[in-house]
Amino acid sequence: MNASSDFPRLTPLNHRETSPSTSDYNCVAWAAGDEAHWWQPGVYWPADSPRDDFGIGILERAFAELGYIDCQTDDSMETSVEKVALYGTGAFYTHAARQLQSGKWTSKLGRDVDIEHDTPDVVAGGVYGEVVQILKRARD
C-alpha cells in the first residue's frame, strides 16, 4: 500500500501488510480482537446503542464496556497495558487501532487489509481524520 490522499502519512517504511483483505470484520472488531463480526451500533456492539448513533462517543462507550479507560493521547508503550486509538472526522467515528506488545500498532483498513504500523498517527491525516483519544486497559 502506498501513500495517497486516503493515507498521506503512510510510507513503505512505517507500515507493513499483515493479512489479506476481508469484509468479515472491520477495524473496530479488529481493535477489540474479534475477527468474526462487523461491529456496527445497533446491530453488533458491546454496549447499548441506538442504530442511528455513529459518533465518536458511541465508539468510546464500546471500548469502555470492554474495560478500557481514557489516557488522553498518550500512545507510549507501557508494559502490561493494552491501548487502542480512536479516530474521528466530523460527526463520525472513523477508525480504531490497537497497540501490540511490540509497541507497534495494528489496524484493519475498512474491508481492505490489516497492517502493522509504527504509530497511531501513521494512518491519520486522511480518510480517518485524526486520533481523537487513546484508551488503555491491563493486558491479559
Binding site: F7, V43, D112
Partner: protein, 109 residues
C-alpha cells in the same frame, strides 16, 4: 415482513447502472468501517434511490460477495430477516437476506 409489491422486470440499463454504482461504492468505501459513512456515499444512496428494482441486484451481489448491503436492503424493503444470533456476522447476514429473497421470489435458488 414480506414485500408487498413485486419489483418490475429489470432492464439492461438498470443492471448496468447498478454495476457501475456498486463498483464505484466499493472503491470509495474500501477503507471505511463506519457503516453510516459507507451508506451516505453518493453511489450507495443512488442505489437506494433505485428502489425495489435494485433489490434482486443487491441480493445477487450479496451471493457473489458478502458486503455491507444490509442498510440499503432494509431501507428499500423495510424488512429485516436477519436473526439476532446472526447479527454482525456478515456471511450469515448475507445468507439470511438471500434466503429471504428466494422466499420472496426475487432471486433463484
Amino acid at each position: 415482513m414480506p414485500l408487498q409489491t413485486a419489483p418490475p422486470p429489470l432492464s439492461a440499463d438498470a443492471r448496468e447502472r447498478f454495476r457501475r454504482l456498486s463498483a464505484d461504492w466499493k472503491e470509495k468505501s474500501r477503507f471505511l468501517s463506519n457503516t453510516a459513512q459507507m451508506a451516505l456515499l453518493r453511489p450507495y444512496q443512488a442505489i437506494i434511490g433505485m428502489g425495489l428494482p435494485a433489490v434482486p441486484l443487491i441480493l445477487e451481489e450479496l451471493k457473489r460477495e458478502p458486503d455491507q448491503w444490509f442498510w440499503a436492503l432494509e431501507a428499500i424493503t423495510e424488512a429485516n430477516p436477519v436473526p439476532p444470533n446472526a447479527a454482525g456476522n456478515v456471511r450469515q447476514m448475507a445468507q439470511a437476506w438471500i434466503d429471504w429473497g428466494q422466499r420472496q421470489g426475487l432471486i433463484g435458488a
